[in-house]
């Protein structure tokens, strides 16, 4: 309860700060939208040459992309930890975090949130509605609930993986370039995994389960029954990965050595 109250306190504070820099805010939202448009155009260009990609139609792939945008938007709003190493370890900002009575990871989430990324979710839903219309998808009353569940699951998968990568900083003092690489790998999850070879498929399902952010949960809404099992695994994988990352984080914090003073 306390954490929820604190969360909204920080959100309010965040909005106040953001309102002061209006121009900045618009530029950021605009560049976000532009980035999504480029990705969408890429999909359209590919399907300008072919109608089917590994048995998936153009609209199905657009639908998956639309779905992917929603958990991804949540992830990038709340898990801005890509520069965790420089900001918190090298500069010693974690010292400050650790002298406050809130869980350290939660504080970093609160401090680094970027709520304007949530607009990505709006785009995502619009893309899904567009593609869903083209496909003539039906709509049942359970869909919104499952959608919510899958989106949260997808966000936790993403969050878990990136928290785990941030944790490397607790053990190795050198900077790593794994973060940007992981952002690239994350993008593979938004295409149907059966177009990749089996090794990549295995990796995207069980090792770096990015497929649970895009293709698996979206398959449920596309009515691809062969993937239903994976669709319903989405929240499970999300919780498992995120829990692992929290445990790792907590033991990492114990090893934190602080920056010299």
């Amino acid at each position: 309860m306390f954490y929820i109250a604190i969360f909204f306190q920080y959100v309010a504070q965040y909005m106040k700060t953001r309102m002061q820099y209006r121009a900045d805010l618009f530029v950021e939202i605009f560049s976000d939208l532009l980035f999504q448009a480029v990705n969408l155009i890429f999909i359209l260009v590919v399907f300008g040459h072919t109608n089917l990609l590994g048995g998936w139609t153009r609209d199905e792939i657009i639908f998956i992309y639309g779905f992917f945008l929603v958990p991804y938007a949540l992830f990038s709003s709340f898990f801005n930890i890509w520069n965790f190493n420089e900001r918190y370890i090298v500069k010693g900002e974690l010292d400050r975090i650790l002298t406050r009575p809130i869980h350290s990871l939660f504080q970093i989430v609160l401090e680094r949130m970027e709520l304007e990324s949530l607009f990505g979710a709006v785009t995502g839903i619009a893309v899904m509605i567009y593609a869903g219309n083209n496909l003539g998808l039906g709509f049942s009353w359970t869909d919104p609930f499952l959608f919510f569940l899958f989106v949260i699951g997808g966000m936790l998968v993403y969050g878990g993986i990136f928290v785990l990568i941030a944790c490397i900083s607790f053990w190795a003092d050198a900077r790593t370039s794994i973060m940007p690489m992981m952002y690239n790998i994350g993008n593979y999850g938004r295409y149907p995994v059966d177009i990749y070879n089996s090794v990549i498929r295995f990796v995207l399902t069980w090792v770096l389960p990015f497929a649970f952010v895009g293709v698996y949960p979206a398959s449920y809404f596309l009515g691809k029954e062969e993937w239903f099992l994976y669709s319903f695994l989405t929240p499970v994988i999300g919780i498992v990965f995120f829990s692992i990352s929290i445990v790792t984080w907590n033991s990492g914090v114990k090893r934190y050595r602080g920056a010299g003073n």
């Binding site: 604190i6 700060t17 002061q20 974690l94 400050r96 650790l98």
Partner: protein, 335 residues
């Protein structure tokens, strides 16, 4: 009275990696890295009572910050026992930090972009401080530190002195019984320093707040602390009253003379030949300094002898300053 801090055989070791030289060395470093275990804090024990103000001093790298970080729960000790406010800092971290206030002079606790009062408001929520508690306590803090006019300014627009006063206020929002100050007056001008010292004395009086202070500026410690803990290479080399440190290590007195006539060191040595005095001359200002034992009779005799023989312009009797004492201890060791 209970102890605010109890430390027993506390130890913290760091692995220090060293790189080999040259390209060949760099390749070997890839495979196996050389490291040695360096103790930053080596088996220290001490206690601090509730309401005490303790100065924690030592040279750079003596282990001051490392100790503070273990006491505040930031670092996990390698071995030994730490009990602060009846808790184990790194085990019950989230519960524990509610009972302490921390100011790191070189690191801001406040949010850079938002107005000071917004930071305070947020911290008030974080520490679950009620409106009544906040109003009664903070209005006093704000008044004493004179930060009322700064409250609506963003932190990034404050000067260092203004920021430090706000930092101090922020650390006290939850009125903690124990306050850690890591170089709180670094880089501040004299007026701000005085204000901060006065304020610390006041809250110590009013709330019986325990204060542990590290600083390079010994005048802070002289003004505030009765007790000092001195650290060298991770070990405590002195723990006791500041006064007895002075008595024990203050090496006599210095008497500075300025003369109206031309005087040489030989003259002075001849005049005072019967007592044990060492003379030194400051070439630039023509000041002659006599170093003598801290013995009132000896000193008055010495002055009488000099004044009888020579025309004196100015005399100044000085006690060895704390700063000098401490420099002497570090130069020569405690033995």
């Amino acid at each position: 009275m209970t102890d605010a801090i109890t430390v027993r055989n506390l130890k913290k070791e760091f692995k220090a990696y060293s790189s080999r030289s040259g390209l060949k060395g760099a390749f070997r470093d890839l495979l196996t890295r050389n490291y040695k275990i360096v103790p930053a804090v080596n088996n220290i024990s001490f206690q601090v009572k509730q309401g005490e103000m303790v100065g924690y001093i030592g040279e750079n790298g003596a282990g001051k910050s490392t100790t503070i970080k273990m006491l505040t729960g930031i670092l996990t000790p390698t071995s030994g026992e730490v009990i602060v406010n009846g808790m184990n800092p790194h085990k019950d971290r989230e519960k524990f930090v509610r009972t302490i206030g921390v100011v790191f002079g070189q690191r801001s606790q406040l949010w850079w972009d938002i107005a000071v009062q917004e930071s305070f408001r947020l911290l008030k929520k974080v520490y679950k401080v009620t409106d009544e508690q906040y109003d009664s306590h903070m209005s006093h803090v704000i008044k004493t530190l004179d930060i009322e006019p700064l409250l609506d300014k963003p932190v990034r627009k404050l000067s260092l002195g203004q920021r430090m006063r706000c930092e101090l206020a922020a650390a006290l929002i939850h009125n903690p019984p124990l306050l850690f100050l890591d170089e709180p007056t670094i880089g501040l001008d004299v007026l701000v320093k005085l204000k901060i010292r006065e304020f610390l004395k006041e809250i110590n009086d009013k709330y019986n707040t325990t204060i542990l202070l590290t600083t390079h500026d010994l005048s802070d410690i002289e003004a505030l602390c009765e007790r000092v803990v001195m650290l060298d290479e991770g070990k405590i080399i002195y723990d006791g009253a500041l006064k007895s440190l002075k008595e024990k290590w203050g090496e006599g007195k210095e008497i500075e003379f300025q003369f109206l006539e031309d005087v040489t060191l030989n003259d002075l040595n001849r005049i005072t030949a019967s007592s044990e005095v060492k003379w030194e001359k400051d070439e630039k200002k023509a000041i002659f300094t006599a170093f003598a034992e801290d013995n009132d009779e000896l000193i008055s005799l010495l002055i009488a002898k000099v004044v009888a023989d020579l025309k004196v312009k100015d005399i100044d009797i000085k006690e060895t300053s704390t700063e000098e004492i401490i420099r002497n201890i570090y130069d020569r060791g405690i033995s």
